[in-house]
């Protein structure tokens, strides 16, 4: 037989029923959305790192194409260019590449030509630039012209611009995706709030007529859906972190592909997900609940 009711030990029960048959479905949908959002965030971080890596590699070097002039041999012109460039402030290293290197670069366009020595193939000079105060293409060009060399300086600025542009596109695309996913999560929560309010109209009506402020009633739904979204967010974030960890382990430092190098520290990016999901859900639930209550 149960113990008699003791008012001294009574604790107020929740105004809303603790369980709702729709909760598991909502939890699953929001968890999937959070999982996708976290994966997108991880992809952006990895893509950004890849873009930065490529840009920094290209920023630290330049390539000079040297053509022989007059009676000078291509090798002699390249050696003179390397010597000239080595003395330019902002240049850490200038090295004339062997003719085979130049041949390797143009062979894909010329095919398997037996003897390239007959062609006037220009020589290449690889220039290492100072990270902090790199020499500009104009400075290098001026130094070469000053020595009477026929040379073209490529500081990779076109490529760097393209990479930065591509990284920017990736960031904007990911940002749009994240906004869409957050919007979808908010819409799902708003729909669930609407359904929850409709299903609990009796509770809402009693609270309303007993003198509850609109904000008191909205708070109930806000807290409920924030809690569900936080749980879903945690589940989605955990799933994305596990997948990220697996990709890191399988792919080593290169992650999924060299284009998306995942670092362990990147996995921390999923941490804010439960809080953000709870915030989105709370705001969506509050707005929806208040609108519906005002129509009572």
């Amino acid at each position: 037989m149960s113990e008699p009711f003791d008012p001294a030990r009574w604790r107020p029960a929740s105004f809303l029923p603790e369980e709702d048959a729709r909760d598991p479905a909502l939890l699953f949908v929001v968890a999937v959305l959070c999982f996708l959002a976290c994966l997108t965030a991880l992809g952006v971080i990895a893509g950004n790192r890849a873009a930065q890596g490529w840009a920094s590699q290209l920023t630290g070097e330049a390539t000079v194409i040297v053509r022989a002039r007059g009676g000078e041999t291509p090798d002699a012109a390249a050696a003179r260019a390397a010597e000239t460039l080595a003395g330019v402030p902002g240049v850490t290293e200038a090295r004339a590449l062997e003719k085979e290197k130049a041949y390797e670069l143009i062979r894909p366009w010329l095919g398997d030509v037996a003897d390239l020595d007959d062609l006037p193939v220009p020589r290449l000079v690889a220039v290492g630039l100072d990270d902090k105060a790199p020499a500009t293409a104009a400075t290098l060009d001026k130094a070469l012209k000053g020595q009477g060399l026929d040379a073209v300086v490529d500081d990779h600025s076109v490529w760097i611009k393209d990479i930065r542009h591509a990284a920017g596109v990736v960031r904007w695309t990911a940002g749009t995706l994240l906004a869409l996913i957050a919007g979808a999560a908010a819409a799902v929560v708003a729909y669930a709030t609407r359904a929850g309010l409709a299903a609990r109209r009796d509770v809402v009506e009693v609270l309303h007529l007993t003198g509850a402020e609109d904000s008191q009633i909205a708070n109930l739904f806000e807290l409920r859906f924030a809690r569900i979204a936080a749980l879903s967010g945690a589940a989605g974030a955990l799933g994305a972190a596990v997948l990220g960890a697996v990709l890191r382990l399988v792919g080593g430092g290169q992650g999924i592909t060299p284009a998306l190098p995942i670092a362990w520290v990147d996995l921390l990016a999923v941490l804010p997900c439960p809080i953000l999901a709870a915030l989105v859900a709370a705001v969506a639930a509050r707005i929806t609940a208040r609108r519906l209550i005002q129509r009572l």
């Binding site: 001294a8 107020p12 029960a13 105004f15 009506e205 007529l209 007993t210 003198g211 509850a212 609109d214």
Partner: protein
């Protein structure tokens, strides 16, 4: 007053109830009894005219100010509107919690009130497990727990036997003696006939005051 674009449910209603009075509202089904109570407990607003409560025109009151006024009114709804997932104790404590009181301030009062209405042994029972009369008394307990200045009851004896109806009526008389203004909408002519309380008779949306039907109490 009308609902949406429907016909007028109350058209010629003008009344003034003194503080501490006790009135019955009678009339056939569809006469507008529940609509009149809804106007008073602020569930509806009149499509024209005014409703003054506690010296204020509540018909023109901004929605954000209505909860403050609603907390001064206790209502026994026709369909009771008990929350099935809450115990009798939680249902009764509801208005006090909404008003922001701490549990320590009211838990003894709630227990006493439930004992007074005969539910002392059913405090932790959920409404679906209560009998009709018990539910009715629980709804009354919830309506009076915060000592409202006005108590409205819509067919409070509709689902109970004669003996229980008299017990509930005595409960209202007792509350009225303590200063609460009571308005009871009822079909129960027997109850009205036994009472020495004035009657507001509604028919086709029009109000007609009637003298007390029963002998002096």
């Amino acid at each position: 007053m009308r609902y949406g674009r429907g016909p007028e449910v109350l058209s010629d209603v003008s009344l003034s109830l003194p503080r501490g009075s006790f009135h019955f509202v009678t009339g056939p089904s569809g006469a507008g009894k529940s609509s009149l109570l809804k106007l008073i407990y602020l569930a509806s607003r009149p499509s024209s005219g005014s409703v003054r409560l506690f010296g204020e025109d509540v018909a023109a009151m901004p929605a954000r100010d209505l909860p403050r006024t609603r907390r001064r009114i206790g209502v026994v709804f026709q369909d009771l509107l008990l929350l099935d997932h809450l115990s009798a104790f939680d249902n009764t404590a509801l208005p006090l919690r909404i008003a922001g009181h701490k549990a320590s301030e009211y838990r003894n009062d709630v227990a006493e009130l439930l004992t007074w209405v005969g539910l002392g042994a059913r405090m932790d029972a959920l409404p679906p497990t209560l009998a009709g009369g018990e539910k009715q008394r629980l709804a009354i307990a919830r309506a009076v727990v915060n000592r409202p200045e006005i108590l409205l009851a819509d067919e409070p004896t509709g689902n109970v036997d004669h003996e229980m109806a008299l017990r509930i009526y005595r409960l209202f008389v007792e509350l009225n003696r303590l200063g609460t203004t009571i308005i009871i909408a009822t079909h129960d002519q027997d109850l009205v006939a036994r009472s020495a309380r004035p009657v507001l008779h509604l028919d086709k949306g029009r109000l007609r005051p009637l003298p007390p039907q029963g002998p002096a109490e």
